[in-house]
Each structure stands twice: as structure tokens, then as C-alpha cells.
């Protein structure tokens, strides 16, 4: 099968690149061997929260403090900002509301009621600037028996920020059934049931316990497949209502993944879910000819250009063997050390070196293979080396901006 572009990896960066390319009328296929890291996303995307040991108010201002091989440094602060600012529209077209800008990080609440900083946050959650959330008196509502949400910790956290809090629990008929199997009263299962009439029942129960609170918080379990459910609930509840992240699986992350995929399909893209790229077939000149997948067997996916967006160690875009870190599909050069004892710091909370392991690329995001750039291949997202997403709070930012950047490079080439 022949495409203009074949992308390996269908997480945040593969989908963003695929969507941008499909919008530019390229014929694109995405291969994704399973679901992605987006399912663990709390609902907020980081662009750059920390750099050079400093906490940043303006993410773009921190880019020059990053090491020279960092993906943002390769793009430059200006281009990174432009891609970052293009992102919300692309998500809005898929039905995903994101609040925030690249000029300044905003605040949002952690599950424990602590202040966090991010670049973009989904419309389900409360965002604000400054050190105090915009409310005086809130009620935190949980479902009876739902254990992945901690109302009393949240109340303590908010209390410390000067907010008066009450907690309440509600019983919803549809959700009650799940309690028979205690292990599986998880966010995703609850979210599947909270639609239609169950949502009306929930609104009634919330209004009952609301009192004179100015804000309602509930666990983020509304809207398995679209934002419409939360919008409906908000219309039925008298006061402003926000979600608070719960223990993953994240319903908002799952929803974003599905909506992005749907959008990609609408634009004519081909998404091969559950299939794996198992081998890369190369031309004599060192460029990529085709990708072989597990399901399509000898029907190789041919293309003019290829993108590797297979994610990091978590998603197996990069693999750790006992004494080797490698990129399994193309055998690309990795930025990593083979000395296993230097992969990690025994202090769990210290910066972990393995977090920045990943594919080495030239300035135009062509990965290196045996020291030379593969000209028709690009790498984007968590598979890239040189960044430490966890410490920098830059995971989604890197995934999105590098994806848009390589899509641009392909469109303009």
C-alpha cells in the first residue's frame, strides 16, 4: 500500500502530525500497536514548567536555558511558540477544548488540591492565574464507593489556599451497579454509564447538596466520548462546576485520544489500531522504502516520507535491554549510555537520567543511523532524546510542537 506519509505511533504526536498532514491533503497512514500515554494525561499539557533549576512563568523564556540538543532548541523559541499557539485550534477542530497560551503558564488544581502550573488545560478543569483559586466556598461531590478520588485531601489542600470546603457523596442508580465488583469501579467504567438519564439524576443530586457554595468539584468521570455530557451537566447544575483529576486511566485523556483519532479519520487518514510496525525496509541510499507491519504481512506500507512517533520507554518506541538502550524499528542512534548503573539515580525523587534517553536527530529532526541522517525519516514526540519531560514538565508540549514542526517540514519540502 502506498501513502504520502506513514507514521509509526498513534499517540499524541503521531495523531497531531497525521492530522496536520491530512489537513494539507496528504495521504497518511498511522500504525499504532496499542493505546498511548495520553490515557495517563491528567488533563493538563506542559510546554515548559522548569528549566535551568528555575520555575518558569513564561515557558518560552526558558528555552534558552535548555541543553543544545533539546528539541525546543532545535526548533528555536520563536518557532516553538508559533507551533504551541497553533495547537488549540487543531484540538478545537477535533472537539477538544483547551485553555491557556504559550505566553504564560496558568494554574490548575492537583487531585490533592495543590497548585500546579501548565500550558494548556482541558475545559473540564478550573484554570486561573495568581496563587488563589477564584472561589470562596466550594462543595466537593463524590460518588459513593468511588475510591479513585480523595475529597478530604482535596478539601485540606483547598483549605490551605483559603477556600471553605464541604464534601458530600451522592448515589446514582446506574453507578451503584458497578459497586458489585469493587475492583472495577474505575473512572472509565463510571464515565461510560454517566450519560443520558443518569446525568440528569446526577444533576439533581448535586443541586441537593450544593447549598450556597459558589463552586462544585466532581471527579473527572464525565464524558467518555465527547464534551457534550459535561456541558449538559453544567447547564443543569446551578453553580460553576469543575472536574478534578482522578487516578488514571484518565477519562479526559481517553476522550482526547478518541476525538483526535476520529478527526484524523474524518480528514481521510488511515489509522491501523492494534497493528505493529515490525520492520523497516531501507533503500540502498539509506532512506526508508517501506514499513512492514504484523497484520498486513507482505503488504508493506510504502511512502515518500516517514515519521517515527513511537513514544519513549513506556510505549516501547525506545527499548531497554539489560545492558543496552536501543530504538527497535530502524536501529537508530540513541542519546543514551550503555552503562546501566548510570541510567538511574538511586534517589527515587532525583532527576532520572533514563528519562532523557531517546533518538538522536540532526537539526531538522532527521534521526541519525550509524552517524548519518536518514533524509526521508523524521522523529517527533517522546521518542526524541535530549529532553527530560518529567523534570521540565514538557511532555505534551514536545509531542505537539515537534509533531507540527515535522508536519510543516514535510508539507514545505
Amino acid at each position: 500500500m502506498k501513502f504520502d506519509v506513514v507514521i509509526t505511533g498513534g499517540g499524541l504526536s503521531g495523531l497531531v502530525a497525521g492530522t496536520a498532514l491530512a489537513k494539507a491533503r496528504r495521504k497518511v497512514a498511522i500504525i499504532s500497536s496499542g493505546q498511548s500515554a495520553l490515557h495517563f494525561c491528567s488533563g493538563s499539557f506542559g510546554l515548559l514548567g522548569k528549566a535551568g533549576g528555575k520555575t518558569l512563568e513564561s515557558p518560552l523564556a526558558g528555552i534558552e536555558l535548555l541543553p543544545p540538543t533539546h528539541p525546543y532548541r532545535k526548533m528555536g523559541a520563536e518557532a516553538t511558540g508559533a507551533y504551541a499557539d497553533a495547537a488549540p485550534l487543531l484540538f478545537a477542530e477535533a472537539g477538544i477544548t483547551l485553555k491557556g497560551t504559550s505566553r504564560a503558564n496558568h494554574r490548575h488544581l492537583s487531585p490533592l488540591g495543590k497548585l500546579r502550573s501548565s500550558w494548556l488545560t482541558m475545559g473540564d478543569f478550573m484554570t486561573f492565574s495568581g496563587e488563589r483559586p477564584p472561589m470562596k466556598d466550594c462543595v466537593i461531590v463524590n460518588f459513593e464507593g468511588f475510591l479513585d478520588f480523595y475529597p478530604s485531601y482535596l478539601a485540606d489542600g483547598l483549605g490551605a489556599l483559603g477556600v471553605r470546603c464541604r464534601t458530600a457523596s451522592v448515589k446514582i442508580e446506574a453507578v451503584e451497579r458497578l459497586r458489585r465488583s469493587s475492583g472495577e469501579m474505575r473512572a472509565a467504567s463510571v464515565a461510560r454509564l454517566l450519560r443520558g438519564e443518569a446525568l440528569e439524576e446526577l444533576a439533581i443530586e448535586i443541586n441537593k447538596v450544593c447549598g450556597d457554595a459558589d463552586t462544585v468539584f466532581i471527579p473527572a468521570v464525565i464524558g467518555f466520548d465527547s464534551e457534550e455530557h459535561l456541558q449538559r451537566l453544567r447547564r443543569m447544575v446551578g453553580v460553576p462546576l469543575y472536574c478534578v483529576p482522578v487516578t488514571p486511566m484518565s477519562v479526559t485523556g481517553h476522550r482526547a485520544q478518541q476525538l483526535l483519532r476520529h478527526r484524523f479519520g474524518q480528514l481521510g487518514g488511515t489509522y491501523l489500531l492494534g497493528d505493529s510496525a515490525v520492520a523497516a525496509h531501507m533503500n540502498a541510499d539509506g532512506s526508508v522504502r517501506a514499513i512492514e507491519t504484523a497484520s498486513l504481512c507482505d503488504d508493506y506500507l510504502e511512502a515518500d516520507r516517514f515519521i517515527l512517533a513511537g513514544g519513549g520507554i513506556f510505549s516501547r518506541g525506545i527499548v531497554a535491554a539489560p545492558h543496552k538502550i536501543y530504538e527497535p524499528l530502524f536501529g537508530l542512534d540513541v542519546q543514551a549510555t550503555d552503562d546501566r548503573d548510570r541510567w538511574f539515580d538511586a534517589d527515587f525523587f532525583a532527576r532520572q537520567p533514563y528519562m532523557s534517553f531517546g533518538v538522536a536527530t540532526d537539526a531538522a529532526f532527521h534521526p541519525l543511523r550509524g552517524g548519518s541522517a536518514v533524509e526521508n525519516l523524521y522523529a517527533a514526540g517522546a521518542v526524541l532524546g535530549g529532553a527530560d519531560p518529567l523534570t521540565e514538565e514538557s511532555g505534551a508540549g514536545i509531542a505537539i510542537t515537534t509533531a507540527l514542526h515535522v508536519a510543516d517540514l514535510i508539507i514545505n519540502s
Partner: protein, 415 residues
């Protein structure tokens, strides 16, 4: 420091990173709270079962074996296989008569088909259905697919001689459904392939692929059938070692290609790469220019494609959709891939009926809203379920193709 270099476990069991992604995609989980879910029933439970088989949880019988958990798992854990293997290994409860009957599709088909008019009449009577529910636990809402008076294999006999005259050859595994219930689909395939210049060969002594026996724990019998089928397939291929072995049922294809080696431990490597769904194979042949199709100009239909669980797992829905899109008169409307709830013989059991319908409810809603002229689908049990639940007609892509094809022009183009 000393490191253990490699740890290889069956079904990638040790690769599970406990991420819970699989639980989000299990269609059963939110509708049946008695089911522990893929993570707990699969890799988590297996750790206990390896220590002590007494930890086996009989609720594993609810698993649909749809493999949607495997498709979602980012770590390649064969969750569905772990669960089915646990059922095979640890479930010592006797197999019910009803389950034996539902599983023995060959035997049931032969008897029922021989008495087709009587059987069909009987199976549609309310009183008979109520009797089946009371005595055997087969849900009375179900309409049994009609049995054909003459099997596909019998009907094919009159066509067999002409097949040798075609320059290319394909082997066809028709399966029980085409043979006993719906020979028309098999005949459609023969007509389409013949028009494309391809002769069809059946597999002598073909037995059921085993999907129903596996689901109902008749493993030894399934294994014996599997060994027989692989040998018979090799014999049917004969000197044409590269000819395709085609299927019109996605579950037959999936079972013989992947469940044989994974679950039944039957080596199919000699023929595995030959096995292909007919619609997928045709799409590929058209794409590489080896087959030309010419369509009737007046044919127009609004069509959607339902991705059965097993074609989702095979990763071949893309081909069926491409095949449908080749037909100029088709307006194609996509629908999200999700389980219809029938899972083969599962939905026929009284105790599963409500669950089965609850799983499918969302899909049925979507299909009703799309309101296509026909739903294309590569699985026969999905066909029963969707037709029963929505009243919308469901056809295999091959039958849709046969309806749209200008046979004479196609035959001429391929000469």
C-alpha cells in the same frame, strides 16, 4: 550487579506494566459487574493461578474472547489468550449439553440441514423457543439462522469441474455458516472469483474452525479438528503452494491463523501466510493490478462497515473498507469500531442475553442514526445480532460486491 538477562513468558504475560489501558476497552466490564475485567482476569489473576490453581475464578467464563483488550494493550500482552488458556486449564466443571450442542456446529448443521424445512419451521415457533430456553438455556429472543436444505458443499459440486479451467486458483474455507445456513455467500464468492479469472477449490473433509468449541471448552475436540484442517488445507493447496486460502468469516480466519498456534498449540506455519479473508485478498489483488473489477453503473447504496472484534484483531478492516470504496455507487459512512455483543455462541445463552444486548446498545443506536441501506460486515454472528437488534440488513462485503458487479464486463476485463 548481576542482572537476569531475559525473561520470556508465554503470551507476553510478564510484559504487563499494570497500566489498566485494557480495562477501558473491554466491552463487558461496565455492563457485567461480575466480570473481573481483562487486567484482573488476565495477567493479574495469572500470577495467583501460577501459584495455586484454586485461585481460578469461574467468572472468567463471561469473557467474550473478543480480544479488544489485546488490541488496546500498549505492551503486547496477549490478555485474551491468557484468559482462555486459564479456562481450558483450570475450569473443571462439566460442559453443559446446551454448550456442546451450540459448539458442535458441524453435527448440528448436518442434522438440522437434513431436516431443514422442519427445523426452520420448528426453530421459529414461540413454543419451541420457550422450550429451548427452559430445557437448554438458549435464549428465546434469539432467532436461529435458517438452515439450508442443501449445503454449500453439495451445491458447489455442480460448479467444481468448471473451476479447473481458470488460470489462477484459490482454496476456499467456507466454514459452517456458509455451508449449513447461508450457501448464497459462498456462491457469491465463487461467482466473483470466477469473473476475476480465479478458480475455486474446496478443502476436502473441511471441519469447523473450532471457534465455538474453544469458547465452550471442548478443547481436545477443537484440537483434533484443527490438526485435521491444517492437513486438509495443505492437501487442497497441493502443488499451488502460493495460492491463497480464503475465508468469508472473520472468526474462522482469526481462529485458524492465530488461535491454532496460540491457544490450541497446533502448528499452522505451513499454511498460515496463505490464509486471508476473501475481501482483504481481493482488495489487495485489485490494488496491485492483478484483478480488475467492473461495476454496474446503476448500483447505488449507502453503506457503513461494522468492524467485528476478530477483524479488528486481525487488523484487516482497512481492506474491506477499501474494497467497498472501490464501488463507485457506494456512499460510505464510517462507524466507530465496537463490539456488537454477540460473540459467537455467547449471546445465544440465556444467562448472557441481557449482557449481550447491553454491550451492543451503543452500536445499535449509532447504526440506527446512520440508517444505511446495508451494513457491511465480515462476521456472520454479528450479522444475526445487528439484524435482530436494528432491523437493518447486514451483508458480507463479498455479497455487496457480487450485487454491484457487472460480471460479464469483469470477466472480459480479466481475460
Amino acid at each position: 550487579m548481576e542482572y537476569q538477562v531475559q525473561n520470556i513468558s508465554r503470551d507476553n504475560f510478564e510484559q504487563c506494566i499494570k497500566c489498566t489501558v485494557c480495562t477501558v476497552y473491554c466491552p463487558l466490564l461496565s455492563v457485567n459487574p461480575d466480570y473481573p475485567g481483562p487486567k484482573q482476569a488476565g495477567p493479574d489473576g495469572e500470577r495467583y493461578r501460577l501459584k495455586n490453581p484454586a485461585f481460578y475464578d469461574s467468572a472468567l467464563k463471561y469473557c467474550l474472547n473478543c480480544k479488544r483488550c489485546e488490541v488496546a494493550c500498549p505492551s503486547g500482552v496477549r490478555i485474551g489468550d491468557i484468559i482462555q488458556r486459564a479456562r481450558i486449564r483450570y475450569d473443571r466443571s462439566p460442559v453443559k449439553l446446551r454448550d456442546r450442542m451450540l459448539a458442535n456446529t458441524d453435527f448440528m448443521g448436518t442434522v438440522a440441514g437434513a431436516l431443514a424445512p422442519v427445523t426452520n419451521f420448528m426453530l421459529r415457533r414461540r413454543i419451541v423457543k420457550q422450550g429451548l430456553q427452559a430445557v437448554l438455556g438458549i435464549d428465546s429472543h434469539r432467532t436461529f439462522p435458517a438452515y439450508s436444505a442443501t449445503t454449500f458443499a453439495q451445491q458447489f459440486k455442480s460448479l467444481a469441474d468448471a473451476q479447473k479451467g481458470y488460470p489462477r486458483q484459490a482454496v476456499y474455507f467456507h466454514g459452517c455458516y456458509v455451508n449449513y445456513n447461508y450457501p448464497a455467500l459462498g456462491l457469491d464468492l465463487v461467482r466473483v472469483l470466477n469473473a476475476a479469472g480465479i478458480g475455486v477449490r474446496l478443502i476436502k473433509g473441511e471441519r469447523c474452525c473450532g471457534v465455538a468449541k474453544i469458547a465452550n471448552r471442548l478443547t481436545d475436540s477443537a484440537r483434533a479438528d484443527a490438526r485435521h484442517n491444517i492437513k486438509a488445507m495443505q492437501a487442497a493447496l497441493g502443488a499451488d503452494a502460493d495460492a491463497p486460502v480464503l475465508f468469508t468469516g472473520s472468526s474462522c480466519a482469526f481462529t485458524m491463523r492465530d488461535e491454532y498456534p496460540h491457544l490450541l498449540e497446533v502448528d499452522n506455519s505451513a499454511v498460515r501466510s496463505n490464509m486471508m479473508l476473501a475481501s482483504a485478498w481481493l482488495a489487495r489483488e485489485v490494488e496491485r493490478g492483478a484483478v480488475k473489477l467492473v461495476f454496474k453503473p446503476e448500483y447505488t447504496r449507502r453503506v457503513t462497515y461494522h468492524t467485528s472484534c476478530h477483524i479488528q484483531k486481525l487488523g484487516w478492516a482497512i481492506y474491506s473498507i477499501r474494497l467497498l470504496k472501490l464501488i463507485p455507487g457506494i456512499t460510505f459512512v464510517p462507524v466507530e469500531s465496537q463490539c456488537c455483543g454477540i460473540a459467537g455462541t455467547y449471546g445465544f445463552k440465556k444467562e448472557n442475553y441481557a449482557t449481550s444486548q447491553a454491550i451492543g446498545a451503543e452500536l445499535f443506536d449509532k447504526l440506527r442514526r446512520i440508517a444505511p441501506d446495508v451494513v457491511a460486515c465480515d462476521c456472520e454472528t454479528c450479522k444475526w445480532q445487528i439484524e435482530m437488534s436494528t432491523g437493518i440488513k447486514v451483508e458480507n462485503p463479498i455479497s455487496i460486491l457480487a450485487e454491484a458487479l457487472d460480471f460479464e464486463a469483469t470477466a472480459a476485463a480479466n481475460r
